[in-house]
């Protein structure tokens, strides 16, 4: 099978998966306990007012009508009006998406860089204190609940040694001028992104160390050593390169976390992002808002998977051939 048919097949599966996810997305909220208008627990809100609200929400339509309207709207990328705020969901998501992406990109690059570097360093220093320290710190950071580390850092760097801002993405009001504003945003990013690095570097470091150790015990590494290659060249040009494909997979599979994994960080640091939006929408039974956010997550998961498949197909021909079941 050629790369083009491999690509088409992947695309077809992606569309199919998206359709199934969107359908489940619709059903899930309607079978969940609770009703949007029941979230209004106000003794002055009469039965008639609740009925009017249901009518305006479109919840008094037959379920199939609701489903077709929902699918039709999503195909046009129209996520409707939030029940809670009566604002277009896409407008609300657009406000938050850049913040989530900035936090994710900075966190991801920093975490991957720190984690992979430490993993390589630990593997290169097997049996020494350096390795024990990296493994111990990595296990500790991986084992302790993330929110605990974040609250701890908030207290230490926001209260006992108050050198960093404790909430938001900018000062209130923000400074004038482009560069001053940029610095202000970087200053606000340090604590949330830094705490994410502390939480996340462990898994990267341990994974890299383990795969590197395996690679370093391979015959071609022994050969490279026998050829008298430099230690750094062996580590980075031979061993690390051979373990990159699974790490690339990890990179792509981590992308959906940009939206879904940010709930806790965004809550603790009052970061105006999509994660917290999704949580609030789900708790408040705000169907359009939650569906819109899930739609975004589903899209990012599917696109990430697709990119991972394409990247795999490009770097490893065995995969695209194997997928066709024939040579």
């Amino acid at each position: 099978m050629g790369f083009r048919s491999y690509l088409f097949k992947r695309l077809f599966y992606a569309v199919l998966v998206l359709f199934v996810i969107l359908t489940f997305n619709f059903i899930l909220f309607r079978v969940m306990p609770g009703d949007p208008e029941k979230m209004i627990i106000d003794p002055n809100f009469t039965v008639e007012a609740k009925q009017e609200l249901r009518r305006q929400y479109g919840l008094d339509d037959p379920i199939m009508t609701q489903y077709f309207n929902y699918m039709k709207s999503l195909l046009r990328f129209d996520m409707g009006l939030s029940f809670n705020t009566r604002r277009p969901v896409w407008s609300e998501l657009k406000e938050r998406l850049p913040n989530t992406l900035i936090l994710f990109v900075v966190t991801f690059i920093s975490t991957a860089t720190v984690g992979i570097s430490l993993g390589v360093y630990a593997a290169a220093n097997r049996g020494r204190y350096a390795e024990r320290f990296v493994v111990g710190a990595g296990l500790f950071a991986h084992a302790v609940p993330g929110f605990f580390i974040q609250l701890l850092l908030l207290l230490v760097l926001g209260y006992y040694w108050p050198i960093l801002p404790i909430h938001g993405t900018m000062s209130a009001p923000p400074p004038d001028g482009g560069f001053a504003l940029f610095l202000d945003r970087v200053w606000h990013l340090i604590l949330p992104a830094g705490s994410n690095v502390v939480i996340g570097f462990g898994s990267w470091a341990l994974y890299t160390r383990n795969t590197m150790l395996e690679a370093l015990s391979q015959d071609y590494i022994v050969t490279a050593r026998a050829k008298g290659l430099q230690r750094g060249e062996i580590l980075y040009h031979h061993a690390l390169r051979s373990v990159l494909p699974p790490i690339v997979t990890l990179i792509f599979m981590s992308l959906p976390g940009a939206v879904s994994g940010a709930v806790i960080t965004e809550s603790i640091f009052s970061w105006h992002g999509v994660g917290r939006y999704l949580l609030d929408a789900t708790l408040q039974m705000d169907y359009p808002a939650a569906q819109g956010a899930f739609y975004l997550i589903a899209l990012s998961v599917i696109i990430s998977n697709l990119l991972a498949d394409i990247a795999y197909g490009l770097v490893d021909p065995r995969i695209r051939v194997g997928a066709g079941g024939q040579r």
């Binding site: 003794p43 406000e95 404790i166 909430h167 009001p173 923000p174 009052s270 039974m285």
Partner: protein, 571 residues
């Protein structure tokens, strides 16, 4: 009024004991004024995380740490020298509800026995370190309609046992369960639904404490924590024995009608216990349609007496408002019964709060920071629904009436006076007509005059569009009549004194809203004002106006230069 003063004193005393003399509130050196505001700007950073709000308060990034509910937070706040703790009675009610539609809860004996085994004092001491007030009636103590001469059921296991024995609920051979005299069988397990420990730990623990107490007299009560939405669903279809939940009420007792009238025992109605009592209905009908306050008060007293006897709920406790202010940064905050010193409904604090210098001397002008605990996502007054949104909007809009902060009695505000009369809707049917007489010289924040025409426009706009949030207030309005620029009549098709409050809405500027075609998609805080550069179409007549809103970051309000209650100096 004497009763209320006694209650206030009792509250102060209880807090004196709870907080210790050294940490008692320091009275703010302010004059109570109905003019203001005294600051030029309020910046409201949005800080969602509780610990971060605490840190912001201690770092001086917020002059208030508002709405403290957790004992640990209250203890932390009172330990700070910079904090001035303010406490007032609240309109909150936490209760245990019985399902009176089913046995054995259809028997008042069981409900009374449950009331006797409920040790409110112990619950409040154990779970809330004393920072709650035990409740015995169905109207919060802060309300002028609170009636304290209803029968009470002080904690007594002996009395509960005696009551059950006398009614034939004898203990079985094991001594652990009682026999139902109607069936001759042991009483079935009786469940108390509560939210889960993860969501509401005190509510879950409270259910457990009541169950353990009930088991001591042979009532097989068990706590059943569950997902909150599942619990609401089960309550909605009356699939429960008992549950615990809270209400946020208001100063008027109309909630009694919504909660306990038999006509509310319908789908989506609030009569969850399913109480159906002709005697109670009669009292509630009078309460609902009372033409004056005296009639309403008598009916509310009667209803509370019947409810204390019938006991569809056990009122458990009421949460006071506890707020901490930075006394080294601000002064002038006003305690308001039922609403607290920092509530958005307390316009007196908004008008009176001012900065102080290092020596504590009050200053004029300047900027204060006041943290919001959530994002005000929607600043359209017709669709804004959450308290966080009204935290902002309440500072931008005034009412026709206001309340005295201590007595909660009505005070003229944008209306200098009003009449409540009746009119003939049709032969043989009377309705209420409210006549508003407006103060002259009130302007919108963009300088346009506020007149009766704005009132007329708003009422008809809300009615024509069937705006759900306002439907309960406008559904009985038949018509409006503009008498002149400063007089307007609002006609209701039923007689009720409460229509006075139904006719006092959040009024919209006609010159802005008359062109709005779809009120739901209108975002006045995002659309630039047609004539005022740097401002938006969110035009109000309150002490502040919106200058800047960065979603998720902060709200910036500035003093409204056209405010009609500015200080005499114009500042």
């Amino acid at each position: 009024m004497q009763k209320r003063i006694r209650l206030m004193l009792a509250l102060v005393l209880s807090f004196t004991l709870a907080f210790g003399v050294a940490a008692m509130p320091v009275a703010a050196a302010v004059e109570f004024s109905d003019r203001g505001p005294n600051v030029d700007e309020i910046i409201m950073p949005i800080i969602k995380e509780q610990t971060a709000r605490r840190i912001a308060f201690e770092r001086g990034e917020s002059v208030v740490w508002a709405g403290l509910t957790q004992p640990a937070d209250i203890d932390q706040a009172k330990s700070l020298e910079i904090a001035d703790m303010r406490m007032t009675l609240g309109f909150h009610m936490f209760y245990l509800c019985f399902n009176m539609r089913k046995a054995p809860f259809n028997d008042a004996t069981i409900r009374h026995a449950m009331a006797y085994i409920t040790d409110r004092d112990n619950i409040i001491r154990t779970l809330f370190k004393g920072y709650m007030l035990p409740m015995t009636s169905f109207v919060p103590q802060a309300s002028v309609f609170y009636y304290d001469e209803v029968p009470t059921y002080p904690f007594s296991l002996a009395k509960a046992s005696q009551l059950l024995d006398n009614a034939g609920y004898k203990l079985d051979a094991t001594g652990k369960n009682r026999i139902d005299p109607n069936t001759g069988k042991p009483l079935p397990a009786m469940k108390i639904f509560t939210p889960t420990y993860e969501v509401a730990p005190t509510s879950a623990e409270l259910g457990k404490m009541i169950a353990e107490s009930a088991q001591k007299v042979g009532l097989p009560v068990e706590p059943e924590p569950m997902d909150f939405n599942v619990m609401l669903d089960k309550i909605d279809i009356a699939d429960f024995d008992m549950y615990v939940l809270a209400w946020s009420l208001s100063r008027n007792p109309t909630h009694l009608v919504n909660f306990f009238h038999s006509n509310q025992d319908v789908e989506a109605g609030y009569n969850n216990p399913g109480i159906r009592s002709a005697e109670l209905d009669a009292a509630l009908d009078i309460l609902d349609t009372a033409p004056d306050l005296a009639t309403a008060k008598a009916a509310a007293d009667e209803a509370q007496l019947i409810l204390a006897r019938e006991m569809p709920y056990i009122p458990l406790y009421s949460r006071p408002y506890i707020d901490a202010f930075r006394k080294d940064m601000v002064t002038g905050y006003i305690d308001m019964a039922g609403y607290g010193a920092a509530s958005s409904k307390n316009q007196w604090t908004v008008l009176n709060i001012r900065q102080v210098d290092e020596t504590g001397t009050p200053l004029d002008g300047g900027t204060i920071r006041w943290a919001l605990s959530e994002e005000p996502k929607n600043l359209n007054p017709t669709t804004a629904s959450s308290a966080y949104e009204w935290d902002v909007l309440d500072k931008l809009f005034d009412g026709l009436l206001t309340m005295h902060p201590e007595s909660l009695e009505d005070m003229p505000w944008m209306a200098k006076k009003w009449d409540v009369d009746t009119w003939e809707v049709e032969p043989g049917k009377e309705g209420t007509v409210i006549t508003w007489y407006l103060q002259e010289g009130i302007k919108w924040s963009d300088g346009v005059s506020f007149t009766a025409e704005d009132i007329d426009f708003t009422i008809n706009f809300l009615k024509d569009n069937k705006v759900p949030r306002y439907l309960p207030y406008t559904e009985n309005i038949v018509k409006t009549e503009l008498v002149d620029d400063y007089t307007v009549k609002v006609y209701f098709d039923t007689v009720s004194y409460w229509h006075l409050y139904n006719a006092d809405l959040v009024f919209l500027p006609k010159h802005i809203w008359q062109d709005v075609e779809d009120y739901q998609s209108f975002e006045p805080w995002l659309e630039p004002h047609p004539t005022m550069e740097g401002y938006t179409k969110l035009v109000g007549h309150g002490p502040f106006m919106l200058k800047e809103y960065r979603p998720g970051e902060f709200v910036r309000l500035v003093k409204n230069p056209n405010y009609w209650r500015l200080n005499a100096t114009g500042k």
